[in-house]
């Protein structure tokens, strides 16, 4: 396997310590857990998605590990503006705040809370299981463009995270680009469900949820590859990555950096483990492989 040169990575205006970023919503509820992940070798971290008002999330079960992945319907639990206290000790670190809202104005308002406190924001337009929020916006290109524009106008580097649950993800990616996104993050979870055969009902409290982990890796690679052709802003790959080779594969599809979520369940120190395998002083510069599978 090839290795990469270590060193800082620039991804849509955010400077990361390496290519490996903690995905939104995974151990991102407290400042301490974000710091733990940064110290364990992540190049950057994305926080839990923060919205205009505190939410307790859906009733449980909220998450079940299944063959090849995780199924979750957390329901965007978040402390809203109080979250600023959590991350106050993380100033200067590569922290990206994940934000959401029910309208362009709400998104922009939440974004402004984070001005001067984070390296960038990630606009979550894609959570498939919070009614009124998330994919209600994220499947509509003109709303995506408006929300992006409203958030980007705050001047922070603005990553826009897309849902794969659309007929044509490129259309949504182009809308984010027109709205002024600095980068696209693909993908959020894939809409899914499991039923408890014993209890004869959907297993998640919210019935529907989002699939993540190994199962979605080929879907994520496809989305990154399509977006790389359709858009000209950088793409951050996300979905099912769990080993160094997956990181290379995502980069060859077109990703400048990679987010990792579900795989943290198996191994909370996977950032350093992957980093050790991925980087070496005689590695190649990442630009040699980003998008190389398109040639």
């Amino acid at each position: 396997m090839i290795t990469l040169l270590p060193g800082p990575v620039s991804a849509g205006g955010v400077t990361l310590r390496n290519h490996l970023v903690l995905a939104a919503g995974v151990l991102g509820t407290t400042g301490a857990s974000l710091l733990r992940i940064l110290r364990s070798g992540a190049g950057g971290v994305v926080t839990k998605s923060i919205g205009p008002i505190p939410l307790e999330g859906h009733p449980g079960p909220c998450l079940v590990p299944i063959d090849c992945g995780l199924l979750n319907a957390m329901g965007l639990p978040n402390p809203s503006v109080e979250f600023l206290d959590e991350i106050s000790s993380l100033a200067g670190q590569p922290v990206v705040a994940s934000i959401f809202g029910g309208s362009p104005e709400e998104c922009a308002a939440v974004c402004r809370w984070f001005q001067g406190r984070v390296a960038g924001v990630e606009l979550n337009l894609s959570c498939p299981h919070a009614s009124g929020f998330g994919s209600a916006l994220g499947t509509n290109p003109s709303l995506v463009e408006e929300c992006t524009r409203a958030v980007a106008s705050a001047g922070l580097p603005t990553w826009v995270k897309l849902t794969p649950n659309v007929t044509d993800i490129c259309e949504i990616g182009r809308a984010a680009e027109s709205g002024g996104a600095s980068a696209i993050v693909a993908i959020n979870t894939v809409r899914a469900m499991r039923i408890s055969v014993g209890l004869r009902r959907p297993v998640l409290g919210n019935r529907f949820g989002g699939l993540s982990g190994r199962a979605v890796f080929p879907i994520a690679v496809r989305c990154v590859y399509e977006l790389y052709d359709a858009c000209s802003i950088p793409i951050v790959g996300c979905g099912g990555v769990s080993r160094a080779e997956d990181v290379l594969e995502m980069m060859m599809a077109g990703a400048v950096a990679v987010e990792i979520g579900s795989a943290v369940m198996e191994d909370i120190s996977l950032f350093s483990r992957i980093g050790k395998e991925l980087y070496s002083p005689d590695g190649i510069p990442a630009r040699e492989i980003v998008g190389c599978a398109h040639e």
Partner: protein, 254 residues
């Protein structure tokens, strides 16, 4: 076959233990380490963490929606169970157990497994002393009640004395957090916080160490996965005994 999905469990018996606590026995058996917990799905209501009080039971205090719904179930009704999760209590030879309220639930199988010589049990009143007879048959038992209706009038930490502590290898502790914080403070005073093992309660959503809702300051340890049992030296600085977080992730006092 069942992946990580809840395993269906049919309730076989409900044993009232105290006015607010009952043991729910079910037809599924779990191999577990005392102190480990399961996520209990009350269909249509919620999923909440509960310690296993035996391989096929949980012992539950009625406090809110999910527990009240559980109390409405009886033999023949089904719940779903994920787990067991977490690390469990350490094993040892000369151990002391300190239990407050429903905190006796995870300690019962620990005491039954052997190695615990003395149990200190507290509750608000005589009626609320959980598993008093069971503990008495397994180890030497001292009790304390807030209202003085049995044993020492006052709080269970007051039963702890330096002699017992000096002669024991470990103190296993579970109960209301302020009670546990008091025990930790005593251990710190006696210079041995590391002898204490505390079973923490935090808001849990996933149970498997991924969602982050149960993380504690300052280290970002996950109660569901790195715990729920932590040795006292890991808890002396930070939120333990001071605050926790609610379902939304807001800080709230304990």
């Amino acid at each position: 076959m069942s992946e990580g999905l809840p395993v269906p469990a049919r309730i076989t018996r409900v044993i009232p233990e105290t006015p607010s606590v009952a043991t729910f026995e079910f037809d599924a058996e779990f191999s577990f380490i005392p102190g480990q917990f399961v996520m209990v799905w009350v269909p249509g209501v919620d999923e909440v963490p509960m310690a296993l009080s035996s391989a096929s039971s949980i012992t539950v205090q009625r406090v809110g929606d999910a527990t009240a719904a559980l109390f409405r179930l009886g033999p023949g009704d089904s719940i779903g169970i994920r787990g067991p999760f977490g690390n469990g209590f350490p094993r040892g030879k000369k151990m002391l157990a300190v239990a407050g309220g429903v905190g006796a639930a995870p300690l019962l199988p620990a005491v039954a497994a052997g190695g615990v010589e003395k149990v200190l049990l507290g509750a608000r009143s005589r009626d609320e002393l959980l598993f008093r007879e069971k503990f008495a048959s397994l180890a030497s038992l001292s009790v304390a009640t807030d209202d003085g209706s049995l044993g020492l009038p006052g709080f269970v930490p007051e039963l702890l004395n330096p002699e017992d502590l000096a002669s024991c290898d470990a103190v296993l502790c579970c109960g209301p957090e302020r009670m546990m914080a008091r025990v930790l403070a005593l251990l710190v005073g006696w210079g041995c916080p590391g002898k204490g093992y505390f079973s923490l309660h935090r808001y849990m959503k996933c149970g498997v160490g991924i969602c982050g809702s149960c993380c504690i300051d300052p280290g970002g340890l996950r109660v569901c996965r790195d715990g729920p049992i932590f040795s006292g030296d890991l808890l002396v600085e930070g939120e333990f005994g001071r605050y926790g977080r609610d379902a939304a992730g807001r800080r709230c006092p304990v």
